[in-house]
Symmetry: C2
Subunit: 340 residues, 2 copies
DNA sequence: AAAACAAATCGAAACGTTTCGATAAATTTC
DNA sequence: GAAATTTATCGAAACGTTTCGATTTGTTTT
């Protein structure tokens, strides 16, 4: 392993001089700089980044923690954080919490391998977050709420999103609107439901019979929808906690011989990529992912710089109107049990 | 910043003893171990990972380089590498080459911050790869071919894929098959085209008039398809270099009043997530992404262990039959110019 | 109770950098 | 051409760990 020491020796200068030369300091004369650079090239010298970080007491990298590195969900959000990070001269690396306490996320947070983190992952414990966040490593947590020093929160305004989606359906005349939510540990899902209930209450509707939970997967949406459809009375519209579940819903409805939007209107949440390719294209609610990403990154840098920053941010959400909704039929929908 | 030194002092033991205690060595008595752990907790001690790596001369992490962290393309592949990496007790971090020579990818490779790398990115120069690959850091390059010590290659057998897709169309009776390929710097696209031509040649078809290039985007596919359709004579089938372009093709065909598969059969490449949700669902060619991922990771570990490994691997590809193809009409397709 | 041995603890070197303060060399000033 | 000043180079300490070999402490054996 060739180190700076070898380079120095090979160039016939002191180790410190080699260091200056390699880092482009002007303390060194042009000709020795050349000498050192030449030596480095000949020996194929590669600096050891850790040693540098150790001495410098800074890593210039920030960590993005995702619950699943391979998820398609994050695309725009990542792009946002990446752009900001890069333009601040920092590096961005991503990892996941797969593996629990042995996961890469834990290791990198606990071992102070980064100067900041953006967490988009419900699996990282609050304890770890509070333990790891410090002056030299502010943390932004997305889509959940965690209090602590050097911890900030960024989320979409899920309550508003839930409210607007429901309102949209009600404006079309729907009154029997079902909710199929995500897992109860998802704060986002809870908030969406809250918005949903708020909208219903405004019209004096107290709906309890059409509220189910899925698990944010297509499979879960499929099953919950089936359960829903087997009930005596059917809703005229279904609002899903996310798009994946809505996809499952499409499938279940098809199996029941019901068509979207003629028989049942559907609204999803997230606006994932496939949403616009479904038939019919899915009306859904879009979170401002890109903006969330840039905002998170900016917050990290501000906190690093010691600037005062608000602890918690909520970003506005937008309804994407496609073709999965229409006004309900006049007659109420009556269930007839399973048809398959 | 509290270091192990502080912990040792607080516990009233030597620094080295503290180190042993913290790393769970049995050289230390149970009661002092307890003492040290207690002190560490009280001071909220967090070990400095770099210092450790520096001393240990190993990082136990491998790097996954993607051309774009936010791309949906990699999902399965990432899952594969992640599983293998984790089960070997290593960590996986991902980064992108956005930013060129200042990118995170460059920094991490050049500064020896990892013990191995998997590269899925055409933008990383061969030079950098050869420079960075070494005994302590083997590199697996995917979907391209790079020679060098400690560099291995894993790719899907694109020639075979191109061949089978074309063969499939020909077996249905198609003879006028167009090719809309990706950018010419993509080795994969070249290979697919090679397979396509091979299949055609077997039947003695020398097709030159229906070969176009897109840029692997929906937009590119859309435009190339338009160009294709404006020609005098039209093919009965189109084979796209990837699925995104096929999506653009669907759109262009619709605008020309042509329907899939009645008027034109279509085959894509990649089997991205949306493919099955298109209407009609897209017949396409699936690369064994997951297997490619696990294989890449395994190779890295084998090379680390000093085991001899073949330099280059090709994995078989699979045709996914959906509904975008059918036998051609008897009469040849005649173009009538633009209709919009 | 002294000798022999094992167990627990310690001190110090090392990993590969950066950077400060000191020295040596080159340049300017009088 | 000696003194003062600038410029270039150097040596050494520091960053926070791990780990080797040495020392101390405690336990067993004779």
């Amino acid at each position: 392993m060739v180190t700076i020491k070898d380079v120095a020796k090979h160039a016939g200068v002191a180790l410190s001089t080699a260091s200056y030369a390699l880092s482009g300091s002007d303390k060194v004369s042009p000709k020795t700089r050349e000498l050192v650079l030449q030596a480095a090239k000949e020996l194929n010298y590669q600096k050891n980044g850790f040693a540098m970080d150790l001495k410098r007491k800074s890593t210039k990298t920030i960590l993005l923690i995702l619950s699943d590195l391979s998820g398609p969900y994050y695309s725009e959000l990542i792009r946002g954080t990446q752009e900001v990070t890069l333009s601040n001269g920092f590096d961005l690396i991503a990892c996941s919490s797969v593996g629990g306490a042995d996961s890469t996320a834990y290791k990198f947070l606990q071992e102070r391998r980064v100067d900041g983190a953006i967490v988009l992952d419900p699996n990282i414990s609050e304890h770890l977050l509070r333990e790891s966040a410090r002056e030299g490593c502010p943390i932004v947590v997305m889509d959940r709420y965690v209090e602590g020093d050097f911890i900030m929160n960024v989320a979409a305004d899920n309550v508003q999103g839930g409210y607007e989606a429901t309102r949209y359906l009600m404006d079309q005349g729907h009154r029997d609107i079902a909710w199929i939510g995500g897992p109860s540990n998802s704060l986002g899902s809870q908030h969406r439901k809250e918005g949903y209930l708020k909208a219903l209450q405004e019209e004096g509707i107290a709906n309890t019979k059409w509220m189910l939970v899925g698990n944010f997967t297509e499979e879960g949406g499929y099953h919950s929808t089936k359960v829903l459809l087997m009930q005596e009375e059917r809703p005229t519209a279904i609002f899903y906690g996310n798009d994946e579940m809505a996809i499952g819903g499409y499938k279940a409805l098809r199996e029941f011989g019901l068509s979207v939007p003629e028989d049942v209107s559907i609204v999803g949440f997230d606006d994932i990529q496939v949403a616009e390719y479904l038939s019919p294209p899915l009306t859904t609610v879009r979170q401002p992912k890109y903006e969330m990403g840039t905002m998170a990154a900016h917050l990290v840098f501000q906190a690093m710089g010691g600037e005062y920053v608000n602890k918690s941010y909520k970003l506005k959400i937008e309804l994407i109107e496609r073709l999965s909704c229409q006004p309900p039929r006049l007659a109420p929908n009556r269930g007839k049990g399973m048809e398959t």
